[in-house]
């Protein structure tokens, strides 16, 4: 009568773990040689940029866990955070393989300083209310989806495969965020005002998304080429949400440098302190 899986823990061998334990390398089984004509250093730097965007955005979504306004959104936000974490793992692993350093995903995630992170500042800004959360997610997912749709044709087959997977995920993320922006914008007076504030707060980080870094021009998608598509989607969603486009200027960088150059906001140091604390306290450990 006690036919349960708890007993099975004493079985021998890895079969008791349902799917085995050999998931150390997310790119296991893939040909990771950098194709001729692709600059390996550029490819690695570009994968770091895209990987860091996903890792840091995922972290901000993880911080929503147990705080969502409704259980369904608890599930949805965790799901989106997981998707982005999965993209980050693949992209960081790709970066470590391409640059020949042999650094794995964890070494890159846990043992770089904030000046070495290449994510856009939009991803790292401290969480606000739920309106800020969905405003940021709408902007982030719309921008990233446009990039990934083009990266499906990347000269690097590994990056192209990662992009193909990401496109499906981001289409859902954008849809989820857009629906909430519409509900909140066209909901109550209070929710309309909060959605307005959330969008305004996010908007100062939008310009940076479309300012091309030389690496992006050389090996990836020049983000300035997807601006029109981004604007089209936002115009449609904001109209349905009875909201006008924010009239907020983009933030300047520091001597022209911002996230892609490793120049971040003050929030980034605290984010990494949290993200990296256990890994750095046990440097020789295996997890």
């Amino acid at each position: 009568m006690f036919d349960n899986a708890y007993e099975a823990l004493n079985a021998e061998g890895d079969t008791r773990w349902a799917f085995g334990t050999g998931f150390a390398d997310p790119l296991s089984g893939m040909d990771t040689a950098v194709p001729a004509g692709v600059d390996a250093a550029d490819l690695a730097a570009y994968c770091l940029m895209l990987g860091d965007d996903a890792l840091i955005m995922s972290h901000r979504l993880q911080q929503w866990c147990t705080c969502a306004p409704e259980l369904e959104d608890e599930v949805a936000l965790a799901n989106i955070g997981l998707d982005l974490l999965g993209q980050a793992r693949l992209l960081l692993a790709r970066a470590g393989k391409a640059d020949g350093s042999g650094r794995g995903e964890d070494e890159l995630a846990f043992f770089r300083s904030d000046r070495e992170f290449r994510n856009v500042r939009l991803a790292e800004v401290t969480n606000g209310d739920f309106a800020f959360c969905v405003a940021r997610l709408l902007v982030f997912a719309t921008w990233r989806l446009a990039l990934m749709q083009r990266l499906v044709d990347s000269d690097d087959p590994v990056l192209a495969a990662i992009a193909a997977k990401a496109v499906k995920e981001l289409a859902y993320h954008r849809d989820y965020a857009a629906r909430w922006v519409v509900r909140l914008g066209d909901g109550t007076e209070l929710s309309h005002a909060r959605m307005r504030n959330g969008l305004d707060a996010v908007w100062s980080y939008v310009e940076e998304l479309f300012a091309a870094h030389p690496v992006e021009r050389r090996v990836g998608v020049d983000p300035s080429t997807v601006r029109a598509e981004f604007d089209g989607v936002l115009t449609e969603v904001l109209a349905a949400a009875t909201l006008s486009r924010p009239e907020v200027d983009g933030l300047a960088g520091v001597s022209g440098h911002s996230g892609r150059d490793g120049v971040h906001t003050e929030a980034m140091g605290y984010l990494l302190a949290e993200l990296q604390s256990v890994a750095r306290a046990h440097q020789d450990a295996t997890w």
Partner: protein, 318 residues
């Protein structure tokens, strides 16, 4: 075999229970049965939701991206369990929002285990191993609960719990083959979670007033002490294999009984935690209440928007 409809609804209920068949939402049931089921399912749902907090505490600090993904997925599963358990409770004529209200005002309980703090990343593994292990021992018999919607929800929940439990144990195995600091973390976490895990089976049989009725209604299939003994018997060899010591000097094999003897559970601590004075009771409920209240304007907006849309559809049809 199905039970033929009977003229007297009470006879139908009794015959269904006697034949080990399921009671379904539209069947007549005694008021006491309905109340007991609502209480049991709601407490279980609340436990899933509150249970997200102690483990959720480590998601942003998980020391590898793989462990982070595993933990985030697990906590997400718990939200999913909460969702379908609330749905199962709703088949008995209650409303999810009322149950949530009862949780955050302290009128309904959740498993006392979640009132203990998670103090290191090893706690994530030990919760998987011991707490999910104890939950499985409690819950597998509930897949045969006499109330259909609950029994069916439990089948899926138990599958996912088993998966979590293996993930927890696998994390501990990895940590035990790591550094001395990691082994010490696992031992420390085991020391802190062992006794609270034994308390998860509830008070001793002689102090469990509802057990007899619940067993007669086939809502419950084994007594608290039976399940607790079974859990100890299964866990001791697992602890040996892991290389940790269970913090009980009286723990030893009794060949005569064919079971492990174990020391006395500190029921006074259990009572204090149940009464609200556990290390984290206030914090857990305050966090839940804050999230609920912070989300009120969002839920209000969703309702207002849905009403506007419905109105527009009506307008268009005119």
């Amino acid at each position: 075999m199905t039970v033929e409809p009977m003229a007297e609804p009470r006879d139908h209920f009794e015959a269904t229970i006697a034949a080990d068949q399921r009671i379904e939402p539209r069947d007549w049931m005694p008021e006491g049965y309905r109340k007991t089921m609502v209480r049991q399912i709601a407490q279980h749902a609340h436990s899933e939701i509150i249970g997200m907090q102690p483990e959720g505490n480590w998601i942003t600090r998980a020391p590898s991206l793989r462990r982070k993904a595993i933990l985030l997925a697990k906590v997400q599963d718990e939200a999913g369990h909460g969702l379908y358990l609330y749905s199962a409770a709703e088949t008995l004529g209650v409303d999810r929002s009322d149950l949530v209200e009862k949780l955050i005002t302290g009128r309904q309980k959740y498993s006392s285990i979640f009132n203990y703090p998670t103090l290191s990343f090893a706690d994530v593994g030990v919760i998987g191993w011991l707490v999910d292990g104890a939950a499985i021992c409690n819950q597998v018999p509930l897949c045969r609960s006499s109330y259909g919607p609950y029994a069916r929800a439990m089948i899926r929940i138990c599958k996912e719990e088993s998966f979590h439990q293996r993930q927890g144990y696998e994390l501990l195995m990895t940590m035990m083959s790591g550094t001395q600091a990691q082994r010490d973390m696992v031992q420390d976490a085991t020391n802190r979670w062992w006794w609270p895990s034994l308390m998860m089976f509830g008070p001793p049989d002689e102090e469990s007033p509802n057990t007899a009725q619940s067993m007669a209604w086939k809502i419950k299939r084994h007594t608290n002490d039976e399940l607790r003994q079974r859990f100890v018997d299964m866990t001791v060899p697992q602890a040996d294999k892991l290389g940790v010591t269970l913090p009980d000097p009286d723990l030893r094999w009794n060949a005569e009984r064919g079971h492990y003897d174990f020391g006395a559970v500190d029921w006074s601590e259990f009572k204090r935690v149940i009464a609200g004075d556990g290390p984290c009771n206030a914090e857990r409920i305050a966090h839940r209440r804050r999230a609920h209240e912070d989300g009120a304007w969002v839920r209000a907006a969703a309702s207002a928007h849905a009403a506007k849309r419905a109105e527009r559809v009506k307008e268009a049809a005119r």
